[in-house]
Amino acid sequence: MLRDVWTKTVRDQRRALLAWSAALVLLVGMYAGFYPSFHGSNSYNDLINQMPKALRDLFTAGAGGDLSSGPGYIYMEMLSFMAPTLLLVFAIGAGAQAVAGEEERHTLELLLATPLTRARLVIDKWIALALGASILASAMGVAIVAFGAAVGMGLSTVNVVASMVHLILLALVFGSFALLVGAATGRVALARGIPAAVAVVAYLVNGFGVTVSWLTPVRKLSPFFQYVGHDPIRTGFSLGAILIAAATVMVLVVGAVRLLRRRDITG
C-alpha cells in the first residue's frame, strides 16, 4: 500500500471509506425499512403534489415525485438529494486534500523532491479519488439492490448500476474540480469552498430549471442534469450524459496538471 501515491492515498482513506460505506449501507437499509408504509399509498404523493411546482421540482431534482413505487421512492429518498450530497462531501473533501492538503501539511515537498512528476502526482491523487467514490457508490448500489429486493421495491439491477455510475461521475466532476482548485491555489479551504458553492448553484439550476423559464437553457449545463436529468433509476444509462461528465472530468484533471506545473510551491 506504500508502492506509489495512489495506493498510499487509498491506504490513508481506508478507515474513512469503511465507515462511510457502512453508514451508506445503514442509511439505505433504514429507508428500505420505511418503504412498506409508503408502498401503494397515495397520501404522500398528494402531499408532494400540493407543493408549488417550483419547490417540488427542486426537491425532486426535476424528475417528479412518486413515493408509492419502488424506483420513485428510492429516487426521492436517496438519489435526488441524500446520495449526491454525501458523495459530494466525500469527493470534494478528498479532492481538496489531494494536492492542497499535502501542501498545507508541507508533505508535498517530500513527494516532489523525489523523481515524481507533478502530472503523475495529480493523476495518482485522482485515481485514489475515483476509487474512493466508486467504493462508496458500489456499497450503496449493492445495498439498494439487496434491501430493495428484500422489501419488494421491484428495482432493475441494471438501472441501479446505471444510477450509481452516473452518481460516481457527478462526484468525480466536483471532486476533480476541488483537486483543480487545490492544485491551482494550494489552499484546502478554497478547494473545498468553491466547488461546494458551485455544486449548490448547479443543484438549484437543475431543480429550478424545469419551471423557471430563463434557467431552462442552462439547466443542461448542470452536472446534476447529467446525473439525473434522464431519470437513470427508470431509464438506465445515458451515453450522452456519461460522455459529457467524463469530458468535464478530463478537462478538469488536465487543467489541474497544467496549473500545478506552472506554479511555485511556496510552502
Partner: protein, 312 residues
C-alpha cells in the same frame, strides 16, 4: 540543448550545481537577487545568512519548487525547474521546516519515499538509522523534533544521492547526533558527493564545510574558504581586572570596539588577534574572563556591513 545536458551520469566536468544570475521575486519583494554560485564535486558548501536572507528560497529553486524570475539554476547540467524529476534522481533533500507523514512509522514513510525513488535500499536505511540512533518503528507524530529530524536526514541520504541539499539539517539534534551527521557528510564528500547546507550560524557548519557563502537581503555577499573566514571571525572578549587598566595596552591589530571602563574591558577580536590580545591581558591580574565567538551576523556586519547596506 547543449551537449552537457545529454550526459548526466558520466559527467566529469559538469558541476553538480551551477547557479547563474539567479533572481527570484515574490510580488515586489526580491527574495534572491543576482546570485551566481558554482559547486564542485566532493565539496561541502555552507550557505549562511540571517533568517529571511534568501537561503531557503535558493534551495527551493534548486529543488524545482520555485521557478526563477530570471537567471538559471542547473544541477548536473539540467535545469532545476523544467527537468526537476530527472534531477531528483541524484538529489537528496532535507527541508527547513520538516514535515513528515505523522500517521506512518518511520519505516513506512521511508518505504513510501524509497518506492517513489524506485525502491528502498533497506540495508542502507538500517545502517543510517543505526548511526543516527533513529527509531523507525514508532509513528512519526510520537517522535520529538530531533528524532523527526533524523528521519528527514535518513530520507535524504538513503538513495545515495550525488548531491545533498540540506536546509538547516542539524537544528534540534543533540551534539552527538550532529557529529554523526557531520561525519556522514564528510564521508559523502570523500566519496565524490557534493553537499549544500544552509544555516544561520557559522558554528553549525564550520566543522564540516569546505567553503561558505554568505547571503544577505537576497544577495550572495561573499564566498570564502572556511579557513579564511575563521581567521576573520570575531570573538567577543570581556575581562574583569583586579585593578584599572590602561586602554593603550590593547591597541592591537584586529581588535575593534575596544571599551575600557576602570577594571572592565570589552572588545571584539579576530582570531588572528586572540594570541597577542591574551598576552596583553595576562600582564595584569585577571578576575574574570569570557571569550565568545560572535554570531555570524556580528562578524558579517563587521566585515561586509557596507556591501549589505548597498544591497538593500
Amino acid at each position: 540543448m547543449e551537449p552537457e545536458s545529454q550526459d548526466t551520469r558520466t559527467d566529469g566536468d559538469v558541476p553538480p550545481v551551477r547557479i547563474t544570475s539567479l533572481t527570484k521575486k515574490f510580488g515586489g519583494f526580491h527574495a534572491v537577487r543576482d546570485v551566481s554560485l558554482e559547486l564542485e564535486r566532493g565539496e561541502v558548501f555552507g550557505y549562511l545568512g540571517p533568517n529571511g536572507a534568501g537561503k531557503t528560497t535558493t534551495l527551493r529553486i534548486l529543488l524545482g519548487f520555485l521557478r526563477p524570475t530570471s537567471g538559471s539554476a542547473r544541477l548536473f547540467g539540467l535545469d532545476a525547474w523544467s527537468a526537476a524529476p530527472d534531477v531528483h534522481r541524484r538529489v537528496g533533500y532535507v527541508p527547513g521546516d520538516v514535515a513528515l507523514y505523522d500517521r506512518l512509522t518511520g519505516w513506512e514513510m521511508l518505504t513510501y519515499l524509497g518506492n517513489l525513488r524506485g525502491g528502498l535500499e533497506t540495508g542502507q536505511v538500517r545502517l543510517l538509522a543505526k548511526r543516527l540512533d533513529a527509531n523507525l518503528s514508532r509513528q512519526l507524530h510520537t517522535l520529538s523534533k530531533g528524532n523527526r529530524q533524523k528521519i528527514a536526514i535518513i530520507q535524504a541520504l538513503m538513495g545515495r544521492p550525488d548531491l545533498l541539499v540540506l536546509d538547516e539539517p542539524t537544528t534540534g539534534l543533540d551534539p552527538l547526533v550532529q557529529q554523526q551527521v557531520h561525519e556522514l557528510l564528510r564521508e559523502h564528500a570523500a566519496a565524490g558527493g557534493t553537499a549544500l547546507l544552509s544555516s544561520h550560524v557559522l558554528s553549525e557548519v564550520q566543522l564540516v564545510a569546505d567553503r561558505i557563502g554568505i547571503i544577505r537581503s537576497g544577495r550572495l555577499v561573499t564566498v570564502e574558504r572556511l579557513d579564511e573566514l575563521r581567521r576573520k571571525s570575531l570573538h567577543h572578549v570581556q575581562v574583569t581586572f583586579a585593578q584599572p587598566v590602561d586602554p593603550v595596552l590593547f591597541a592591537i591589530e584586529g581588535v575593534r570596539d575596544l571599551d575600557v571602563n576602570g577594571v572592565l574591558m570589552s572588545c571584539a577580536a579576530s582570531q588572528d588577534a586572540l594570541d597577542p590580545l591574551l598576552r596583553a591581558i595576562t600582564l595584569h591580574h585577571v578576575v574574570d574572563l569570557s571569550c565568545e565567538e560572535a554570531s555570524l551576523d556580528d562578524t558579517f556586519l563587521a566585515f561586509y556591513g557596507n556591501g549589505a547596506a548597498d544591497a538593500s
